[in-house]
């Protein structure tokens, strides 16, 4: 048992950031060689001496040398495991003193129980029923009635057709080479074939008391789509529940003998909720992606998905929120600070960050030298709030939360991504509105008729007014595309009292049926009245303020200004009146000419984003 980790004094570098950080660096050792994931980490006081130890089910550097590692202080002890661990938990088996928790390692079809770090009990899952056809075939092989090749063919036939899958022995036989078949059959034919399932996940559930030091049951999820609850003393199966898919993450709250809720995230991308008396799932949350982690925070179920996001759900499966992560989630676990009653979710991300969220609020970000693959938070040694992380390269990082540190809502950065839709402030339906709808219901036909009749009258009136405006050439914008012209007059400065000079009111009568010859002449001018004259500029569009001073009887200086009268002459067209002008631009001639006939197919249709301003002129009550 070599001490592979070393306590590090706080490094000199980065002292300023250290001071503002909420964490003290305790250990940072890149060479511990621990490769594991959050489910295989547990913290417990294994010897009853008040020193909490870290239990890790280690996969080994290449996943070949599974080991149970126990870290006490800086001393690491390890013992080999028979198979790769799937989960490691610590739990109390009996309620009498001295209470020393047992370690349970789920590995393959078995749960290995350790007490005082000595092997104590091995629980194996009950074997599954074997396919009778397969049994027959092997029996025949045992009696040498068939040769290995026939055996292989028959087994392959069974594998393809039968509903019950083959046993491990048959599957391995199907994999071996021709030359080794004989030996394999001889070696194994005497053994009876068995079909075993595998434990995929494991957690603990308090038996009948909610206390910290109460006896807990083990809850196992198996490859055969079942959930089992084990008695902590006798290791008999207390309850069995079946799921539609293989559970990969489990979260439990409540007590087994009172009431409990089980949430199981499964490989089909769904989270199933089970209650005490339900043999089948009660609710189902269908995620849009595969779950990568499941944490129960207070009553909110936080699911991490492989779409780089965290989702919060209620126990009934209602989605509360979604938080988008900057990178893929590698590990998730619960952060529980008992002294402040804080529960939050920690998520180790692929971009070498560990983010801590309370609901949607980001409380803290920890930057690590390597991506964190597993993390847990709790009491280690004699320190209450320790964060233990292992990294992708097998390193171990421990950080201690400062006792003065407070994770305030405001202390964390506000989440910039508000993925939650803001609730619209829709006004209530008033009683008047309801009354009006009643009236509509009663007199709908009559209202419609009146409206339609009025609409016809309005169309007539509008058309009359329009024709009249055209005849008297009042419109400031020309109607036809051949004569693109737009005029408007702006009065600037004080205007004489109303009624004295109707001529200069904005509605300038303009002859829009412009004679072609006149339009061509560069400086055709015509007179509107005794005091003003309008001018049409030549081909080059320009707009310059153009003063006409006049002495009105009661007024002062009058400035009449045309802002845009333009006649751009585009290339290839000899009509000088073409082109809609833009005041003060001459450089855009080519561009406009090129866009003379825009290909309308290329244009997207005007979307609804082009808006008419909502009733701009609800005009004022002028009193």
């Amino acid at each position: 048992m070599a001490a592979t980790s070393s306590l590090q004094a706080d490094g000199d570098k980065g002292k300023s950031s250290e001071a503002s950080s909420k964490w003290l660096n305790a250990v940072s050792d890149p060479m511990t060689n621990i490769h594991t994931f959050p489910a295989c980490m547990a913290l417990a006081d294994l010897h009853g001496d008040g020193e909490y130890e870290l239990v890790v089910g280690d996969l080994g550097p290449d996943g070949r040398q599974p080991r149970l590692k126990v870290l006490k202080g800086t001393v690491l002890r390890e013992s080999p495991l028979p198979a790769l661990p799937a989960a490691a938990v610590t739990f109390l088996m009996e309620s009498h003193e001295p209470q020393t928790p047992a370690v349970a390692i789920a590995s393959g079809p078995c749960v290995y129980m350790y007490k005082n770090l000595k092997p104590y009990f091995k629980f194996s899952l009950p074997p599954l029923p074997v396919n009778p056809l397969e049994q027959d075939v092997w029996n025949q092989a045992k009696e040498d009635q068939i040769d290995p090749l026939t055996l292989k063919e028959m087994l392959e036939g069974i594998r393809e057709k039968a509903e019950v899958p083959l046993s491990v022995q048959s599957l391995r036989f199907l994999q071996v080479e021709l030359s080794e078949m004989e030996a394999f059959v001889n070696q194994h034919k005497s053994k009876s074939i068995r079909r075993q399932t595998v434990i995929t996940t494991m957690t603990t559930l308090k038996k009948n008391l909610a206390d910290e030091d109460a006896v807990s049951c083990l809850v196992l999820g198996t490859e055969s789509k079942e959930l089992l609850v084990l008695d902590p003393k006798a290791f008999t199966i207390l309850a069995k529940m079946s799921l539609p898919s293989v559970p990969v993450f489990l979260e439990v709250s409540g007590q087994f003998e009172v009431e409990f809720r089980l949430a199981a995230a499964c490989r089909n991308g769904s989270v199933y909720m089970l209650r005490r008396d339900s043999k089948r799932p009660k609710y189902c949350i269908e995620l849009s992606a595969q779950p990568v982690g499941l944490v129960l925070v207070h009553k909110v179920l936080v699911v991490g998905s492989n779409q780089d996001s965290l989702h919060g759900f209620t126990h009934k499966g209602k989605k509360l929120w979604t938080v988008q992560m900057p990178a893929a989630i590698l590990a998730m676990n619960l952060l529980e600070q008992h002294s402040r009653g804080l529960q939050a979710v920690m998520a180790g991300l692929a971009n070498r960050e560990v983010r801590i969220y309370q609901d949607k609020a980001l409380l803290n970000i920890i930057h690590t030298p390597e991506a964190v693959t597993s993390l847990c938070f709790g009491r280690f040694g004699r320190e209450d709030n320790t964060l233990i992380m292992t990294t992708q390269g097998g390193g171990l990082i421990m950080k201690i939360l400062k006792r003065t540190a407070v994770f305030g809502e405001g202390g964390g950065e506000a989440d910039p991504l508000l993925s939650q839709p803001v609730k619209l402030n829709v006004p209530r339906k008033t009683r008047i509105y309801v009354d009006q709808t009643l009236r509509e219901r009663e007199a709908g036909t009559a209202m419609h008729r009146t409206f339609q009749a009025d609409l016809y009258l309005l169309r007539l009136r509008a058309a009359r007014a329009y024709v009249q405006a055209l005849e008297s050439s009042l419109s400031p914008v020309s109607v036809t595309a051949q004569e693109p012209l737009k005029l408007h007059a702006v009065t600037q400065g004080p205007r004489p009292p109303r009624g004295r000079s109707r001529l200069l009111s904005p509605a300038l009568p303009l002859p829009l049926s412009w004679p072609q010859s006149r339009a061509r002449s560069p400086a055709a001018s015509f007179h509107m009245g005794p005091q003003t004259s309008l001018q049409k500029w030549g081909p080059a569009p320009r707009s310059s303020p153009w003063d006409v001073s006049s002495q009105e009887p009661g007024g002062g200086l009058l400035r009449s200004l045309f802002t845009s009268v333009t006649a751009g002459s585009p290339r290839g067209s000899d009509c000088p009146g073409q082109g809609w002008g833009r005041p003060g631009t001459t450089q855009a001639q080519g561009g406009r000419g090129a866009l003379r006939h825009p290909d309308l197919k290329v244009l997207r249709p005007p979307t609804s984003s082009q808006r008419l301003p909502e009733v701009c002129g609800l005009i004022h009550l002028g009193f």
Binding site: Q436, D454, G581, L618
Partner: protein
């Protein structure tokens, strides 16, 4: 009948012209009309009566006639802070720092304020940013901005009164011995009002007021208020403030509160003005003018929730207050409750108002509250009641909206064009016409119309945004970006603009 009594009776029946004529006859009998003989009280009484009658003829309530001229707009040095903090100034049009309604929900006026329910001086204009904006005439204002406020309405009143007396002025101001009149307080008050209102000679009025205050040993609050009024006219705000404050100390009057608040508004200190009004409300609880004053200031500051609260309070005290009814009605309309707005406008109709804007509003409310049978009738009536071109334009413009709502694009097109026929500077109509042109596929025309719209009212964000969208669609990214920037300046919180700018920036980055 005794002629003086008859004259007095005419005065009380507000037949001022008859009263003045009769007084002239009385005064003709006693030749010294310029200087009434103290021995002849009848002539003195007639002199006072005539002065009052002439004043009443042209009397304008000083409190609300406030129109800033170009000079005040552009050369304003009275504001204390040049870059005021948000929520403490009236000078930030078009921006929503104080939580005003969004321009997507509630359209803005030319000056960049949310549309109000009532046309009054000051609310239309806002404060222009450039000289060109300052000299351009607001579309819905009835007169152009005067060069300076002292040369505006007051000059016209003065000249008008000059014309009414063909024999020359009643009192020749240059020949007055002000010191002598200041000794006679009763005479002096009538004379002051005559000088101030009828002759519009603020300097002489100020001299008289100063002498009279001195004579009353600075104990008469009335004279102090008059001094303050004179100083206000002369734009000496600090002196005016001093006088009004001193008057308030002696005698708290509603008028004085209003005058003082006006001074503070001119100094661009709306918060102080509101506090002053609240102080006044402690002395005169439930005073309508004070409540209304507070509401108006909040409205100018774009703080619509507080404004609504005070308008409602105003209505509680005076349930025929047209300004308050109009504001609350409009507020309900833009808060998506047209049926409630309809109630308010019907109330105005019941009060005997019968004009174009009211029927226009009724029609709009009916349409959006789905009372279709009343809609077009109301608009019809509004059109026939319209008094001038601007009103006609507004009604056609709104009819255009109805046509868009009905789905008759041809009619909408005609309506917007008719709006432009009546009012060539109707930027909103240009914008809407451009959108319709765009739907027909006339890109160039749409662009030209949008440019006109944006040059007419730069505060509107819609033309800029629409122009940016069109330019973006035809591939003119540079112009699209420029227009989008303008749109963002006019309405910083507009999501679509932001998205467009982001998209364009990405485009530029890729290129």
């Amino acid at each position: 009948m005794e002629p003086l009594f008859l004259a007095w009776s005419y005065f009380r029946r507000r037949r001022f012209q008859l009263c003045a004529d009769l007084c002239t006859q009385i005064l003709e009998k006693s030749p010294c009309d310029q200087e009434p003989d103290p021995a002849l009280p009848v002539s003195q009484a007639a002199w006072i009566l005539k002065a009052r009658a002439l004043t009443e003829m042209v009397y304008v309530d000083e409190i609300d006639t406030d129109q800033d001229g170009i000079a005040e707009m552009m050369l304003d040095e009275n504001a204390i802070a040049q870059v005021p903090r948000p929520g403490t100034s009236l000078k930030l049009p078009g921006t929503n720092q104080t939580g005003g309604p969004s321009p997507t929900v509630r359209p803005i006026t030319q000056a960049g304020r949310p549309i109000t329910g009532c046309l009054r001086s000051g609310t239309q204009s806002g404060r222009p940013g450039t000289l060109e904006q300052a000299i351009r005439m607001p579309r819905t204002a009835y007169t152009a901005r005067p060069i300076a406020s002292s040369s505006g309405r007051f000059v016209r009143l003065g000249t008008a009164s000059m014309l009414t007396s063909p024999d020359g002025p009643f009192i020749n101001l240059s020949r007055l011995n002000l010191t002598k009149y200041a000794q006679k307080p009763k005479l002096a008050k009538a004379l002051f009002e005559y000088i101030f209102h009828h002759e519009n000679d603020v300097k002489t009025a100020l001299d008289l007021a100063a002498l009279s205050t001195e004579h009353s040993q600075y104990k008469d609050w009335w004279w102090k208020v008059q001094l303050g009024k004179c100083y206000y006219r002369l734009r000496l705000y600090r002196e005016a403030e001093k006088q009004f404050k001193s008057a308030l100390k002696q005698q708290e009057m509603v008028d004085t509160f209003l005058y003082l608040a006006k001074v503070y508004i001119s100094l661009d200190q709306p918060v102080t003005a509101i506090n002053l009004f609240k102080q006044g409300l402690n002395k005169f609880p439930g005073e309508v003018t004070l409540l209304y004053g507070i509401a108006r200031i909040y409205e100018k500051m774009n703080n619509m929730s507080s404004a609504t609260e005070y308008y409602k309070e105003t209505l509680k005290q005076d349930n025929t207050h047209v300004g308050a009814i109009a504001f609350i009605g409009i507020d309900h309309f833009y808060a998506e409750q047209p049926e409630v707005a309809l109630r308010f406008f019907r109330r105005v109709l019941q009060m005997g108002v019968y004009n174009c804007p009211l029927f226009n509003n009724l029609g709009l409310c009916c349409f959006y509250a789905q009372q279709y049978d009343m809609t077009l009738t109301s608009f019809e009536r509004a059109l026939s009641l319209a008094e001038d071109e601007e009103e006609v334009a507004a009604v056609w413009y709104n009819l255009g909206h109805i046509a868009v709502g009905v789905g008759d694009m041809n009619l909408a097109h005609q309506c917007f064009r008719l709006a432009l026929v009546s009012d060539n500077n109707f930027a909103e109509a240009y914008n809407n016409l451009a959108v319709l042109e765009m739907r027909r596929g006339h890109v160039e025309q749409a662009k030209a119309l949008l440019q006109t719209a944006s040059s007419l009212i730069p505060n509107l964000y819609e033309p800029h945004y629409n122009f940016a969208t069109i330019s973006d669609q035809i591939g003119d990214l540079q112009r699209s970006y420029t227009a989008a920037q303008k749109s963002a300046a006019a309405f910083p919180a507009h999501m679509d603009t932001k998205r467009l700018i982001e998209q364009l920036k990405q485009h530029f980055a890729v290129l």
